[in-house]
Amino acid sequence: MTNADAWRKAFAVQAKADFETWEILQDCPDVAKCHKLQFLQMACEKLAKAHLYDAGSQPAKSHAYFGKNFPKIAEYYYARAGISGGKYRKLYQPLRPLAGEIECLSPSVDNNGKRRDNCEYPWEESGGAIRIPAEYTFPNLNLLTAPNGRQLLKIVKEVIDYLTSSQ
């Protein structure tokens, strides 16, 4: 196993553990939504890094990976199912905003100050109100009812499984 393969596998295994924790927490009504979403954000970030290692790149230390790399991850996944070109773009485009929302959950990703909502630290809104992650509803990330929420989660879960199991 090359060094890149070892890192790819390491990030994929950790992404899998994070995603499984996200799933387990779905059954815990007393756990705040911010904490559930934090595990999803971490899983997606590590999935993106695992994918980059798989593609021969070396990711830098940053939390801003999933939104930017999701197109390549999705393209790869759809291609394995024989879907490419225009059909891929039609299926993938509606998923992209959700991938960006997940990336914004990290406090270090704020789109130049436009997105201060995050999973970890209280933030001040433009009107001066202070918001607390543990009390925030994250209305843009109701993945159960968002039209493409299930599809995005399915891709994340499947690609993590693939990158974990492949040699």
Partner: protein, 121 residues
Amino acid sequence: MFAVSFFGAKCMSEILDQAKRLAQIHYESGSTSAVYASGTVVTNASDDIRLVEVNDDTIPSGIVPLRFGPLPEMGITHCSTIVEVTASEFKQIQDGELPLPADWGELEQIYPLPDTVDPGR
């Protein structure tokens, strides 16, 4: 004993109502063409919602159950597990070639009801 049975019946009815509500939300958002509830929802006192949703925009990758917590603001107070499949995969499920998780029962279409399917959809 009566109290337990009564609670069970109430719980089943509540879960089925919420399963139908969730199915309606997904159908009306255009993300599924038909929703089937697992028999555990319809006939047993299971405490969660289990749905199979047909969606030809999903990747044909077999049975990938996705777990979701409650969403009280939308009237969904129970956890749910959702399996999205293509129409072709759904036929495989019906033919017994693609098995659902072991504790899932028979499927029953809950949205749209079979006699209200829009043939143009």
